[in-house]
């Protein structure tokens, strides 16, 4: 416990140290910058609810990644899985003939899960059948998904008369996930994210599936001797990962952008990868770290507004966080060895 507090202290000081250095180099007022990021993310109910709209997809992606990391898979393909989830969800939302919004949205949610899951399955099959490492397969599939969404937006799903990067036609208001008055985050999104966290915790820590995934992640050769087929569970974990990513895609189209845009994933897949590493692949820190990253994402927009500092600095801060975390993890590893 004392060790943990010490680690966190080291990590936090590293983050602030690095960031301050970068801000100094960028010739920005350091304290003001931190203050504005804080004010811009947590200082009002509205701001906090904006942070939560980012928190929801980040948590969903992180939950998915916990499953794949548990099996020692690097699901880089999560970006493509978000995209395919969004496409699957959008396909249902565009379907003519359905009237009941609740029904359409539920079907769309299911389609998003299927879309993301199928894309995950594809990366899994490339690994288990084709011998393609999941990092390369996943990257390839990300490109394919990106190409596919661009084709849809500029082709069959373009707005009447206009093909534009700004995406497809806006969804009718009845298909937007509703938010509490004065808030910016959808009820459904929060409910889904919290449910996802609880389910992930149950599956990974309490169910036999979670234990088997961990066993495969630690030693696939030994797993065979316990009648656990690594291939089967690789596929299962990456399908689950893809399904969670698909849910994130669904949230992006129904609660955030209300349409399909080329950058629908918002890079949350990659961000979630960093987040999960930072969390040391454990679930408990995930909601808090996701809140931190989401806050940074939303709060850093204050930098250009107030200080005329480019907001991409938030990316630098995130990078610093991950480096610090890796440093602390490495330290812990070395301590363990010695």
């Amino acid at each position: 416990m004392k060790q943990l507090i010490q680690d966190i202290f080291v990590a936090v000081s590293l983050v602030f140290g690095f960031t301050s250095l970068v801000l100094l180099i960028a010739d920005a007022p350091v304290l003001d910058a931190f203050k504005n990021i804080w004010l811009g993310s947590f200082a009002s109910t509205m701001k906090f609810s904006q942070v939560l709209t980012v928190w929801v997809p980040l948590v969903l992606c992180s939950c998915g990644l916990l499953f794949t990391f548990r099996a020692n898979l690097w699901n880089i393909g999560i970006e493509g899985q978000i995209i395919m989830g969004a496409i699957g969800g959008m396909a249902v939302l565009r379907m003519p003939g359905l009237e009941n919004p609740a029904l359409i949205l539920s079907l769309s949610f299911v389609a998003a899960i299927l879309g993301g899951g199928a894309w995950g399955l594809l990366a899994g099959l490339l690994k288990t059948r084709g011998g393609v490492h999941e990092i390369f397969g996943g990257l390839g599939l990300n490109f394919v998904a990106q190409g596919f969404i661009l084709w849809l937006i500029f082709g069959p799903w373009k707005r009447p008369g206009i093909a534009s990067m700004s995406g497809t036609e806006l969804l009718p208001l009845k298909l937007w996930l509703s938010s509490p008055p004065g808030w910016r985050v959808a009820y459904a999104g929060l409910a889904i994210a919290i449910t996802a966290l609880i389910l992930t915790w149950l599956f990974l820590y309490k169910s036999k599936l979670g234990l088997k995934l961990k066993a495969i992640g630690k030693n696939p050769r030994a797993a065979v001797l316990y009648d656990i087929s690594p291939e089967g569970y690789y596929l299962l974990s990456i399908i689950i990962g893809g399904a969670f990513a698909g849910m994130a895609g669904f949230m992006q189209i129904t609660a955030v952008y209300h349409r399909l845009i080329p950058a629908i994933s918002s890079g949350y897949g990659y961000l979630a990868l960093l987040l999960v590493m930072l969390a040391g692949y454990r679930i408990v820190p995930i909601p808090f770290l996701a809140l931190f990253f989401a806050g940074l994402n939303v709060g850093s927009i204050q930098l250009p507004i107030v200080l005329q500092v480019d907001s991409t600095l938030s990316g630098v801060i995130q990078g610093c966080c991950v480096l610090s975390a890796l440093f602390v993890l490495g330290m812990r590893q070395r301590r363990k060895q010695s």
Partner: protein, 487 residues
């Protein structure tokens, strides 16, 4: 050059790898260095080539003490080594590989030297061919020519005949003899007695880091074998041979890849109740045999039956073997049989054949706690497997083993165990488990094999060279078979 080792010792932590080793390799001779795996041969050669520092003693070249701090020091003196796995650059051509690591000469000069040397030794090497397309034997030839060309005067060969064809061997041996007569000092590291006998002028035998024998050609094999494997042990009280029953495992015309030479085998059958020991030097085929029987290695040819069920040649084989109550305990427990960061009780949960959604933590903790008591495992149920000592890991594996198992495959079951733990393991296997189970185990300890098995298979270079009831063979014959001498 004469190479003289004087009282060399080497410690790795608490392990004494070499103690007081002295020997002299004279110029113009081939000096054999033989011994089992782990006898200290490789360590001694690594000290001579500067890859490892010695803990004590001296090395003298032509009577002068020298310091060998780095591999470069050794190369400067003219000490060169031909490794088991050729140390070359696969993407470069024959000529380029030949030209490396020597004083700079023009390309034409290298080409001419290569042609000249290859002709002299009868090697056929195309200078422009990429090395990755060549056989191990040809790569070895390039390496040998390169060492000669770099004016190597002390040549060390480490198991030079593993992985090369008989024809290549027929070229290599005269070449080595020729080099010796031309004045080179050659050290040959091997555990193949026949080769050593046909090549060497002198032989030094190492056992457990000590020189146990030194002799000149012609050699007497029983003498060498005894020096390698120890004195023929006195007959301890041997467990009574067990009653045998129906065939448990049959193999026909099997060919399989794995280890150095793969495995080829005509037919084999094991009956219930039998205890079969697999002898052989490291990598001779025992490991492949055990994995074949467990369905983990898929044979390229031939068929296998477990309890009269034909094993499929697909990844399903291991599951089917498992269903037929076959278990396999590999030698490298943490690498192949246990999970790091996973607790003892979780291992029991994983092993539980009943499918359930939850992990059933309480039940499995109880099971683990019981096993800890019965198998005297030093640890707690929430300790992770990697925190156990080797002996306790083996106890855990035995505790995880289904006592109803009918075919038990063990790879080096007493590896890393002290004598008492080893005895305990055997007691458990033979007394506690059903006497109808068939046990097949491999071991590098000849004594263990002779003592516990009813039948012995000896592996050599991927073949079974001896298949005999223990009662009908003896220490000497098995040791001879292990080193490739056909009686």
């Amino acid at each position: 050059m004469d190479v003289e080792f004087q009282h060399i010792s080497k410690r790795f932590g608490s392990v004494q790898a070499l103690s007081d080793v002295s020997l002299t390799a004279k110029q113009g001779t081939i000096h054999g260095l033989i011994g089992e795996n782990g006898a200290g041969k490789s360590t001694l050669m690594k000290i001579l080539t500067g890859y490892q520092a010695k803990s004590g003693g001296d090395i003298l070249i032509n009577g002068e003490k020298i310091a060998l701090k780095t591999p470069d020091d050794a190369a400067q003196i003219g000490i060169g080594m031909l490794y088991q796995e050729p140390m070359d650059f696969p993407h470069l051509t024959v000529l380029e590989n030949f030209s490396l690591g020597c004083p700079v000469l023009s390309r034409e000069r290298f080409a001419a030297s290569l042609k000249h040397l290859a002709f002299a030794f009868g090697f056929q090497l195309a200078p422009k061919r990429r090395v990755e397309l060549l056989t191990v034997g040809e790569r070895q030839q390039i390496e040998l020519l390169r060492l000669i060309h770099c004016e190597t005067s002390v040549l060390i060969l480490d198991e030079p005949t593993t992985g090369i064809s008989p024809a290549q061997k027929a070229l290599l041996f005269p070449a080595l003899k020729k080099l010796a007569t031309e004045g080179m000092t050659i050290l040959l590291v091997s555990h193949k007695l026949e080769e050593v006998a046909s090549l060497c002028d002198e032989v030094t035998v190492l056992r457990h880091g000590n020189v146990t024998h030194h002799t000149y050609a012609p050699f007497r094999f029983p003498e060498l074998l005894e020096a390698m494997f120890g004195a023929v042990p006195e007959q301890k009280e041997k467990p009574v041979a067990r009653a045998t029953g129906n065939a448990v495992l049959t193999m026909n015309n099997i060919q399989a890849g794995g280890e150095r030479q793969g495995l080829e085998l005509k037919n084999f059958s094991a009956k219930s109740g039998e205890i079969i020991g697999l002898a052989g030097l490291d990598g001779a085929g025992q490991a492949t045999f055990l994995r074949l029987a467990a369905g983990l290695t898929i044979p390229e040819q031939g068929d296998m039956q477990l309890f009269s069920t034909k094993l499929p040649t697909s990844k399903k084989a291991s599951r089917i073997a498992g269903k037929l109550q076959t278990v396999f305990l590999p030698a490298d427990r943490l690498e192949e049989a246990l999970f790091t960061d996973i607790s003892l009780s979780e291992h029991f949960s994983l092993r539980d054949p009943k499918s359930s959604f939850w992990q059933k933590t309480e039940t499995n903790r109880q099971r683990a706690a019981e096993a800890i008591k019965t198998f005297s495992i030093k640890g707690q149920y929430d300790d992770t497997a990697d925190n156990l000592s080797g002996g306790n890991q083996q106890r855990l594996l035995l505790a995880l083993l289904d006592p109803q198992s009918k075919l038990i495959l063990l790879e080096n079951p007493t590896r890393g165990l002290d004598i008492r733990s080893g005895q305990w393991v055997w007691e458990y296997l033979t007394q506690t488990l059903s006497p109808e189970a068939c046990i097949i185990f491999s071991s590098p300890e000849l004594d263990e094999i002779l003592h516990y098995s009813d039948r012995i298979l000896v592996f050599y270079d991927g073949d079974i060279v001896l298949n005999s009831l223990t009662a009908e063979t003896d220490h000497g014959s098995v040791a001879a078979a292990m080193t490739g001498m056909r009686s």
